[in-house]
């Protein structure tokens, strides 16, 4: 009897996954679409490849459970009359009402509000309930301008001019017809049930020179009161951040390739953009190169999972982080409840990425009233608040261990790289050495 492995040989090129992919596309006649974000195995350097080096004898730690370590966060100090003041450095990123259910949007707003964080609107405009429940609400101005409303713009505490998104930079949004229903269609001025494909370019400006004027327009429309954010997917980060800063942004948001999405071409999620770790390093270097580090605030997004990721991003240069997918998980995304409905989608809890179908078993990425009812707004809001609080406490305990009385005092010197790649990307020493192996664009050796 021959051993099975002798004749059941697998191609290294046409693996079972690739064969399945080809056969699915041979049926579909288009690229595959799904939600969630990249599912690739993480073979690139991530925040996990860094470690903090807390105080021992060369530095003195703060008492981990007692001494004050401020997480208060100030954004938009460059030009705005009213910068944004938050109690925590973790914010809720823009996710559209449409991609998310009403209950999910309101729960995120309420949860963020409980701990003094912020919420952001999304592609589709402002939901009045999220305005009512958000002390701090950031209004996204996206290329599609779905739901654009000057009255809503003037009710916001910050304006985010979105150029792109980490999960799918260079492409527009996507909302399949199963979600373009009733009030969502009406708010977006779209026919019921269309597969909405948003534009990638803004309708009234193209490049950074025009964007200077666009930013001035937004300031005039809001009487220079609120900060203007510019959000971009992480690609040519060093150059793009410099262009956004020169264009007059108060705050720059860089969204790495691990960021999530409600729906997009799968290949964009898997094969475009640069990782969040690299993005934060390039972004900081860009602002330092312009002499604007600290004056223009930096928010990092894209696969931030916990306070450790957030603390490392902040040590590398971020003033705050956005969370999206982690916030949805606090709402119950991928929780093992209503398991039969996961099975109906052909998936399992902890593996679901079917946000695009509108059949979310836990009522988050759906417009189906019955599914939506599964998400109790107040209970979900409490979980979001707890997560934000927990993540903040994780940042604080690391900061105290590093002797910092303010979470924003974490810096690259508090970190070491666990491997060469992370050292080269971040420009910080490899553990066990005093050497820095490389450093990204604009990197300069620290004194």
């Amino acid at each position: 009897m021959p051993d099975k492995s002798d004749y059941l040989r697998t191609s290294g090129t046409f693996t079972p996954d690739i064969i399945e992919d080809i056969q699915v596309k041979a049926e579909l006649g288009r690229y595959r679409i799904r939600g969630f974000g990249t599912l690739r195995e993480r073979r690139w350097a991530t925040f996990d490849d860094l470690t903090f080096i807390p105080c021992t004898l060369t530095r003195i730690p703060l008492e981990g459970y007692r001494e004050r370590c401020s997480p208060k966060t100030l954004l938009g100090t460059r030009f705005a009359e009213k910068p944004i003041e938050l109690e925590v450095p973790i914010m809720i990123t823009g996710m559209s009402w449409g991609a998310l259910s009403y209950n999910a949007k309101v729960a995120l707003a309420k949860g963020a509000n409980i701990v003094g964080s912020s919420n952001t609107t999304g592609d589709g405009g402002m939901l009045m309930a999220e305005r009512e429940h958000s002390r701090t609400l950031i209004y996204e101005v996206l290329p599609s301008r779905y739901g654009i409303d000057v009255h809503h713009l003037q009710m916001a505490d910050g304006i985010e001019l979105t150029i792109g998104q980490g999960a799918k930079p260079g492409t527009g949004g996507l909302l399949l017809g199963s979600k373009v229903l009733d009030t969502v269609a009406e708010q977006r001025d779209l026919p019921l049930g269309v597969d909405q494909r948003s534009p990638a370019r803004h309708p009234d400006f193209l490049g950074p020179d025009d964007m200077i004027i666009k930013i001035e327009e937004l300031r005039e429309a809001t009487d220079w009161q609120v900060p203007i954010f510019v959000k971009m997917g992480a690609t040519r980060v060093f150059d793009d951040v410099k262009l956004a800063a020169k264009a007059g942004a108060d705050v720059i948001v860089v969204d790495g390739m691990e960021g999530g999405t409600g729906a997009s071409a799968e290949i964009c999620q898997e094969h475009t953009g640069v990782p969040t770790l690299a993005a934060v390093c390039e972004a900081r270097a860009a602002l330092e190169d312009l002499g604007l580090y600290g004056e223009v605030q930096l928010i990092i997004a894209g696969g931030i999972r916990h306070g450790v990721d957030a603390a490392k991003a902040m040590a590398l240069g971020a003033d705050a982080v956005y969370i999206g997918t982690a916030g949805l998980m606090a709402l119950n995304c991928n929780k093992p409840i209503h398991v039969e409905d996961y099975h109906e989608l052909g998936t399992e809890p902890y593996h679901c990425h079917h946000c695009h179908t509108g059949r979310c078993p836990v009522g988050i990425t759906t417009q189906d009233p019955d599914l939506m009812k599964r998400l109790d707004i107040d209970e979900a809001a409490e979980r979001v608040a707890n997560l934000l609080q927990a993540m903040t406490s994780e940042i604080q305990i690391l900061a105290r261990a590093c002797g910092k009385a303010d979470v924003h005092d974490l810096d690259p010197e508090d970190l070491r790289a666990l491997n060469l790649e992370a050292s080269m990307i971040c420009g910080i020493p490899l553990v066990g050495t005093n050497r820095v192996f490389g450093g990204g664009p604009g990197w300069k050796e620290r004194e």
Binding site: L28, R30, H151, P191, D195, D204, F205, E220
Partner: protein, 236 residues
């Protein structure tokens, strides 16, 4: 009528002065010598009359809701972008992206409009007395666009429920755009609308109302359909 002399004033000064006058009850304000400054008259939300006595730069009357704006010159990019209500009239030409993303109101350009006219419009009425450049009406969702002259390439590409009327030649229809016979109601609408906003165009022997073409969406791009290969090859 109140005058604002724009010479020596910044955009911020001019807009602040407009808002101050409106707050004081002024309903008819003329900006003298605007020298094509950008972002003038942005986000005005009252039913007042604003006259710009010369050309203006980018985003003039952007995001307005209610005013009647007259520009006695030409306008730069993004004229009246994201407007929600009111009327914006340009005596001369308009730059790229005029009336982009408008959700309501009326934008009238007496002469020509450059590329990307009415991109992503979500409502309202756009009237161009002359020609328009490429990609006019791209992804237009709702509302009506009337171009009395010729259009550029990719006209009315990927539209949803917007309706376009063209008096001259269409250089090239965009993806999923189709020409339809105007109805009697359409012709009546054109006659009355042009009589109101561009009276000089009515009776124009080079573009009589009966010759206007109506362009709408073929609706083949509204939902993914693998059998519409030729349309989707362009759009995907």
């Amino acid at each position: 009528m109140a005058d604002i002399i724009c010479d020596g004033k910044t955009t911020r000064d001019i807009n602040a002065e407009i808002k101050r006058l409106i707050a004081n009850g002024e309903t008819d304000i003329c900006m003298r010598n605007p020298v094509a400054r950008h972002n003038l008259g942005v986000a005005i939300l009252q039913s007042v009359k604003l006259t710009f006595d010369g050309s203006v730069g980018y985003y003039c009357a952007g995001m307005v809701d209610g005013p009647t704006v007259e520009i006695k010159g030409s306008a730069g990019w993004g004229l009246a972008e994201s407007m929600m209500g009111g009327t914006v009239t340009v005596e001369g030409n308009a730059g790229n992206g005029a009336a982009a993303s408008i959700r309501g109101g009326t934008v009238v350009v007496h002469s020509d409009a450059a590329s990307r006219l009415g991109v992503s419009m979500k409502g309202g009425l756009i009237i161009v007395g002359g020609n328009c450049g490429y990609m006019a009406g791209f992804m237009a969702q709702r509302g009506t666009m009337i171009v009395c002259g010729d259009t550029g390439e990719a006209f009315a590409d990927s539209m949803y429920e917007a309706v376009c009327f063209v008096g001259g030649n269409i250089a090239e229809l965009g993806n999923d755009a189709i020409i339809e016979q105007p109805t009697a109601e359409d012709l009546t609408f054109l006659e009355s609308t042009l009589s109101q906003h561009l009276p000089s165009r009515v009776g124009n022997s080079q573009a009589p109302i009966r010759n206007f073409k109506k362009v709408v969406s073929g609706r083949k791009l509204w939902n993914f359909d693998k059998d519409e290969r030729s349309v989707w090859r362009e759009a995907l």
